[in-house]
């Protein structure tokens, strides 16, 4: 409720500011980490106090565990994740030949589960899928985001940009109204970050658990009182493509912590 009043305040700020959505360039790009209090930063910075590491640990265990009718573990084919998965997350979402669409990392992991292990797919936001995604992404921690240069992705990325700039919801705001034009300003209790997907899956204090980028994006849509896209919806993957391009060069933080 109070959050809603905050949002109403923002409308005024947005209407008053005549800034043009231009994206954020080079040295102005800042991870959400930079907008947090020192206490929350400390929580992320130390692996022994970062609760997200509990999911990375679970992912490491699942990586070794045989699954499905093929009775084979991820490690059975991919070996040592610190070698084979290093850098993989920096270039996702990637183009998926099978569907002719971009696929995010969680989707890629689930497709290996289905096709290679011949196991049931893991449900979105299940601890197991978050844990495996966090574990695989963690292998790229500290590496710069470098989206794949693949012409087949272009139309989807363009759609993501269009979605980012379209006004939605009862509050009639676009993602860009907040994250391109008003980042750094306060919205109720929180500072508006630039919306870089550097830390997912991450531990959000508000959730009291680890969640995916899709969950975060749905939260922002609900925040402006728009009907959120369903988990796994193609629009969410298109938005992620745009966000990763916008974040190009920032470093992977998984598992991050956010308020």
């Amino acid at each position: 409720m109070r959050a809603l009043w905050g949002l109403v305040g923002i409308i005024a700020a947005v209407v008053c500011s005549m800034a043009i959505a231009a994206g954020i360039e080079g040295s102005a790009k800042r991870s959400g980490f930079d907008f947090m209090t020192p206490e929350t930063q400390a929580l992320q910075a130390d692996d022994m106090s970062n609760p997200g590491m509990l999911w990375v640990l679970q992912g490491e265990q699942l990586w070794q565990q045989s699954e499905g009718r093929a009775d084979v573990a991820c490690a059975g084919c991919h070996g040592d994740a610190s070698q084979t998965m290093r850098g993989v997350a920096t270039r996702y979402p990637a183009f998926d030949e099978a569907t002719g669409r971009p696929i995010d990392l969680a989707g890629r992991i689930n497709s290996c589960r289905g096709e290679r292990q011949q196991a049931e797919p893991l449900t979105p936001e299940s601890d197991a899928l978050l844990a495996l995604t966090a574990y695989v992404t963690h292998q790229s921690r500290g590496m710069p985001i470098t989206p794949a240069i693949d012409a087949r992705l272009a139309p989807f990325r363009d759609n993501g940009r269009r979605l980012f700039q379209s006004r939605i919801g009862q509050l009639d705001l676009s993602c860009a109204s907040c994250h391109d034009d008003n980042w750094g300003k306060r919205l109720g209790g929180s500072v508006m970050p630039q919306a870089h997907p550097t830390g997912y899956p991450l531990y959000r204090l508000e959730w009291q658990t680890v969640g995916s980028l899709q969950r975060r994006l749905r939260n922002c849509m609900i925040g402006v009182r728009a009907e959120p896209f369903a988990f796994g919806a193609p629009e969410l993957v298109d938005l992620e493509l745009h966000l990763m391009e916008r974040a190009r060069g920032l470093r992977v933080e998984t598992p991050a912590v956010r308020p």
Partner: protein, 159 residues
């Protein structure tokens, strides 16, 4: 459409808080649990068995401004040589405004070496937190601190 109706801020769902608040208006304008819980002082008295609580010998570190009340890091440190004859037996932490006054009770002894403990706690709203240490001579010492808790934006359920 609401993906996570279980979402809460701190200890009580916003919706429940509102509902409790509204019906509460007719009665005493406080949520149900706020009436039911013992006060901070009552909770401390239960812990000390009524003994006097002195100020000092305990330090409570709590960030004055909290970004999200779901995980607030606290550290309690008591001054004590932590020897067999002179040590801290227990450290208890209490809050003023959560549904329950108790937060945690830690049991220490000479083998602890130092009387310092850290943990992460939930604060449903801005309030006072108190740490009380029980020494091996039966005396009680305490320290208090308060925190302002802000709410997160863009949560999952605004109602």
């Amino acid at each position: 459409m609401r993906e996570d109706p279980l979402r809460v801020h701190g200890l009580v769902g916003r919706r429940q808080f509102l509902r409790a608040g509204m019906t509460g208006l007719l009665v005493i304008s406080l949520p149900r649990w706020a009436v039911a819980r013992p006060s901070l002082d009552e909770a401390i008295r239960t812990f000390t068995g009524g003994a006097d609580v002195l100020d000092g010998r305990v330090r409570l570190d709590l960030p004055p401004l909290v970004e999200n009340g779901n995980a607030v890091g606290i550290t309690v440190a008591a001054e004590s040589p932590m020897t067999a004859d002179d040590h801290v037996r227990r450290i208890a932490v209490f809050n003023e405004k959560n549904p329950e006054a108790n937060v945690a009770v830690f049991r220490l002894g000479p083998r602890s070496g130092r009387a310092t403990v850290s943990t992460r706690i939930r604060l449903a709203t801005s309030q006072v937190v108190v740490a009380v240490a029980e020494m091996s001579d039966g005396s009680f010492w305490s320290s208090r601190a308060s925190a302002i808790v802000t709410l997160a934006a863009c949560i999952e359920d605004l109602s």
